[in-house]
Symmetry: C2
Subunit: 237 residues, 2 copies
């Protein structure tokens, strides 16, 4: 593991060890970070279990459409399911304002230069949310297909969102993230007629990295495919 990213990586450590990068204590410092994160994640998970909350950690590249998926999902489901959202962003509260417009409770976490949410940040945000009656908590992570993969927030599932505009090879190029995810939302399918994107090849690559991954093809813009995603969410209540 490498202190510069906090993610476990044999290759990266090996690479750094070539030179005069930090040595001695590096791996223990980083293990410590993930150990502490895992303890906080355990506390979050215990809270979710106690309160009967189904928590999802939405991860993706910037601009894959996580917030638009949430806006549409909340507009369509918040009448029947009690939802709340934790929004992670480097800066701005643009996304939290978009979620707030749906009437659903939301807390923003700004990470500054930080590249991911950690379980401690989420624990703080939970203290500020009214969760007594909550059924589903959506945690929208910082847009980053790398670093959030290593940080358990206490969620039931990591849900990776991939836009068809990003190319079908992303599961193989960012395997830690797709391996960590149990669910994948293949978004912006309305743009498929304008792209050279091989859906079946993409799904095959995703399943190669994460066998058993549950995949929904949808467009948050047109609404196509959203019904199956909603049905899955209802079944998890």
């Amino acid at each position: 593991m490498c202190t510069t990213c906090g993610c476990p990586s044999e290759e990266h450590v090996h690479h750094h060890d070539h030179g005069e990068h930090i040595s001695g204590g590096k791996i223990s410092v980083e293990t410590d970070i993930l150990d502490k994160n895992n303890r906080y994640a355990g506390q979050n998970r215990a809270l979710f279990r106690e309160k009967g909350i189904f928590a999802l950690n939405l991860v993706s590249s910037p601009g894959s459409g996580k917030t638009t998926i949430l806006e549409r999902t909340l507009a369509d489901l918040s009448g029947e399911l009690r939802c709340a959202v934790i929004e992670g962003d480097q800066q701005t509260d643009n996304d939290a304002l978009r979620i707030a417009a749906t009437g659903v409770p939301v807390r923003q976490i700004n990470t500054g230069a930080g590249c991911h949410l950690d379980a401690h940040m989420v624990g703080h945000a939970l203290e500020e949310l009214s969760i007594a009656e909550l059924e589903i908590l959506f945690i929208e992570n910082v847009g980053n297909l790398v670093c959030p993969a290593a940080f358990d927030l206490g969620e039931a599932h990591k849900v990776v969102v991939l836009s068809v505009t990003e190319g079908e090879d992303k599961p193989l190029k960012y395997p830690q993230m797709f391996h960590a995810a149990d669910v994948m939302l293949l978004n912006k399918t309305d743009l498929l007629p304008h792209l050279d994107f091989d859906v079946e090849k993409c799904l095959e690559m995703a399943r190669r990295v994460s066998p058993g991954i549950r995949i929904f093809r949808l467009s948050a813009k047109t609404g196509e495919g959203m019904a199956e995603w909603y049905e899955w969410l209802r079944g998890k209540r």
Copy 2:
């Protein structure tokens, strides 16, 4: 700065200091990482100056089209400019194979779980490239709009690639990266007719974060706008 990302962040440190996260020595460890990176970057920069090499560090979200831009640029320019490429990816050498097909020398760096290239990795790759006659070196970073912002590789400019499919608000949501970039390639303009994307709003946001940023609007797929980018590259030889 935070050990989990290696990026300088007041907010992030503040956040971590709320809890029982690593304290004492954290900031010094991270400053050390960037200090060492900056020393390696200085060595790379001195080498580029000595050899008359114009080096660009291409940064973006995953799937914004960096490799496609490079493929087309090399196909069109490698007859008149001596180019080489360093490819950064978590895993796979897909991109390096695409570049190799253009006939231009290329070295792949796989970062494993690592979230960015650092100057030390690039220095190693330079040892393996024939750079005696080189005029332009393109370094394609790991697809990540966060962490690569903090790591100088010795380049003349960071060139941020933004796809119009990602939404116009990305410069404000990932301000460190857009602030660090002097040049922006707004890619996939061929898809504009199918999107709700406000080009002028995006450019205004980019300039707010990085006044004086040089912006090229282009589509590596159709070729529109590429001529201005080529003209700029020729002028930097």
